[in-house]
């Protein structure tokens, strides 16, 4: 065996091969497998061994890995689309049409790009929920939570800048109303709006700017941030180690198993199932392409992309300065800084902090669904009848007042949950988190699905 290897080394091809990676192509012993993980660039995001308990699928649901797979699908399909797309208002729509009808697999590639982009937003959101509910944001993971949010923001921006590119009616008007929302940000709003539009309204400059963001700036930023994110997970000692309860002390001496094959096999299976699923979906469901953009004719209704539908819904009820600026800013600050709260317990690795925390979370979620729906219905059907509200300026009656009530309400809700359940602040903060997240989901679903002609509430079927 030994002499055989030495013989091999004499051949030019063999020497060249070994210069790329000194190990055997297929590692057969545990030792070889460990060194393969350490020595191979792409596998090096993993440690050579991991605790056996983190392998369970229901611990992470493989969501972070799925997000990476979807990002890679975006890169692959996006690069192909770039060869077919002509980024000017005059040519964009026609180039998409010809891509779909004349280019072999053109429609499929566009479908893949379209559906996995939307799925990516959902998967990242679910990943964020998983991280929160397993307490994987405590020190030293606090800053990685913020990096995660930065990635989410970039992915939303990438989705949104891509939304304009087909330049059909849906794209044109969704971008018009979404950038219109931007204009309501106090002081810098109008400047931001005209920067992103490249002028007063959607036109050739907008297309150039969105295309540059979509195909150059944002992919690079996402790639760098994702690398940073994975590196921070590795520095924190891998994904959070599951514990059954707060009483259980994290055991560093537990059974560790080699990453190759145990983790890598699981990751590969998850990735392949995901790819198969998205491929099958893209074969059967086409990304829509409506009528070409017509600046003179707004369709009824005109909606923001589904991931902004929550803000659009909020915008129907609350004064713009508050619904697109104050409230989102308050929520973002709460979410970003939540890991830095001085918590009673380190709940790392324990689902929902405790069984009590889980119960409180369910109650908060149900309350949030009911309250959000009731408020939407009241505002849509009853609020116009309240005469007192019409006599004060809309900035107060539809802006400052409801915002103030919502924020005080959240504070009271926190106090109430904490005392009623004699809970720790981990559990009470989690209740607030669940309440806000559920409200956002309800707003998004109502805005995206249950708004019809004239933005009136209606059933989609």
């Amino acid at each position: 065996m030994n002499t055989h290897t030495e013989n091999d080394q004499k051949h030019f091809i063999s020497r060249f091969r070994r210069s790329i990676s000194p190990g055997p192509i297929i590692p057969r012993t545990d030792k070889e497998r460990k060194s393969a993980v350490i020595n191979f660039f792409a596998l090096h995001i993993h440690p050579p061994t991991v605790p056996e308990t983190v392998l369970r699928f229901t611990h992470t649901f493989g969501l972070g890995g799925m997000a990476l797979v979807l990002i890679l699908i975006q890169f692959g399909t996006g690069i192909l689309l770039k060869f077919a797309f002509e980024p000017t208002p005059m040519t964009a729509y026609a180039s998409i049409q010809s891509l779909q009808t004349k280019t072999p697999f053109g429609q499929l590639i566009r479908n893949l790009h379209h559906w996995s982009a939307s799925l990516l937003v959902m998967i990242i959101f679910l990943h964020m929920l998983r991280v929160y509910f397993t307490g994987a944001f405590h020190s030293p993971r606090q800053f990685n939570w913020i990096i995660g949010w930065a990635i989410f923001a970039c992915v939303l921006a990438a989705n949104f800048t891509g939304y304009l590119l087909p330049y059909d009616q849906l794209a044109y008007w969704a971008v018009m109303v979404s950038t219109g929302m931007l204009g309501y940000i106090p002081v810098i709003g109008p400047t931001l709006q005209s920067f992103f539009l490249g002028g007063a309204d959607v036109g050739p400059a907008t297309m150039r700017i969105f295309f540059a963001f979509h195909t150059a700036l944002l992919p690079v930023i996402v790639l760098i941030l994702a690398g940073f994110h994975f590196w921070r997970v590795r520095k924190a000692g891998g994904v959070v180690v599951p514990r059954a309860s707060l009483a259980e002390i994290s055991d560093n001496n537990q059974v560790r198993v080699p990453v190759l094959p145990n983790l890598l096999m699981r990751e590969t299976v998850t990735a392949l199932v995901l790819i198969a699923g998205i491929l099958a979906f893209s074969v059967f469901f086409n990304a829509t392409l409506g009528d070409p953009a017509n600046p003179g004719l707004s369709p009824n209704p005109t909606k923001a992309p589904w991931y902004f539908a929550g803000f659009q819904e909020l915008l129907l009820h609350i004064h713009p300065a508050f619904s697109v600026f104050v409230i989102p800013l308050a929520i973002t600050l709460f979410l970003m800084l939540a890991p830095y709260i001085n918590f009673d317990d380190n709940s790392e690795g324990v689902w929902f902090v405790s069984p009590k925390g889980r119960r409180m979370a369910i109650i908060s979620g149900v309350l949030s669904v009911l309250l959000t729906l009731v408020l939407i219905l009241i505002d849509d059907y009853a609020a116009t009848g309240i005469k007192i509200l019409n006599s004060i300026p809309p900035e107060i009656s539809q802006g400052a007042l409801p915002t103030f009530i919502l924020m005080i309400g959240m504070g009271l809700f926190y106090r109430l949950m904490k005392s009623r359940f004699s809970a720790t602040n981990n559990e009470a903060v989690q209740s607030v988190f669940v309440f806000i997240m559920t409200a956002l989901i309800v707003l998004t679903i109502v805005g995206a699905v249950f708004r019809g002609k004239d933005m009136a509430l209606s059933l989609p079927w």
């Binding site: 109303v177 920067f195 002028g199 400059a205 707004s298 009824n300 004239d454």
Partner: protein, 177 residues
């Protein structure tokens, strides 16, 4: 191989050293500032050349007599509507909804501009009469020369509601139809 063992410097030198460090910091800040200046000037939206009769320039709407009182005429290329008010005054209102920028059609039956996106409504003066829009439609500068109405679409005027002085009247006698 000669290698300096000590990295410590005598105190005499440290003052000069910290001065040099400050210079480097300042130069670094200047370089950053220059880069920011370069990038913002590069990305700043440029004024496009405006062709005669297109949005952004002066547009000839037509002779005063061709617009009857209490009517609205659309000028798609100029992206505005010319309202002739009850008293013969002219008002060029933008077709862009002040809520989120959708294009509003004039509904002759209701005598209202009704936004198809979020159902905001505006009257012939451009006043917002139905939320979510809370501000009147923007207007463009109107001027009348030799009994012809011109609209300067290069100057958009933002306003919260209609005021009497915004309407433009023809000075010639008998022009009030």
């Amino acid at each position: 191989m000669v290698k300096k063992q000590s990295t410590e410097h005598p105190p005499v030198q440290s003052e000069r050293r910290s001065f040099l460090n400050t210079i480097w910091m300042v130069l670094g800040a200047v370089a950053l500032g220059e880069a920011a200046w370069l990038i913002t000037s590069f990305l700043k939206p440029r004024k496009r050349k405006i062709h005669q009769g297109d949005f952004g320039g002066a547009i000839t709407a037509g002779p005063v007599s061709s617009f009857t009182n209490n009517t609205v005429t659309a000028f798609p290329r100029g992206r505005f509507y010319l309202s002739r008010l009850d008293d013969g005054g002219f008002l060029a209102v933008s077709r862009q909804c002040t809520h989120l920028g959708c294009t509003i059609p004039w509904e002759e039956k209701e005598k209202l501009f009704i936004c198809p996106c979020h159902a905001s409504a505006f009257d012939i003066f451009g006043n917002a009469v139905k939320s979510p829009a809370s501000r009147a439609l923007d207007i463009f500068k109107v001027y009348i020369e030799n009994q012809t109405v011109y609209v300067d679409t290069g100057q958009m005027i933002k306003r919260s509601e209609f005021r009497k002085e915004q309407a433009v009247y023809s000075t010639a006698p008998g022009s009030k139809a």
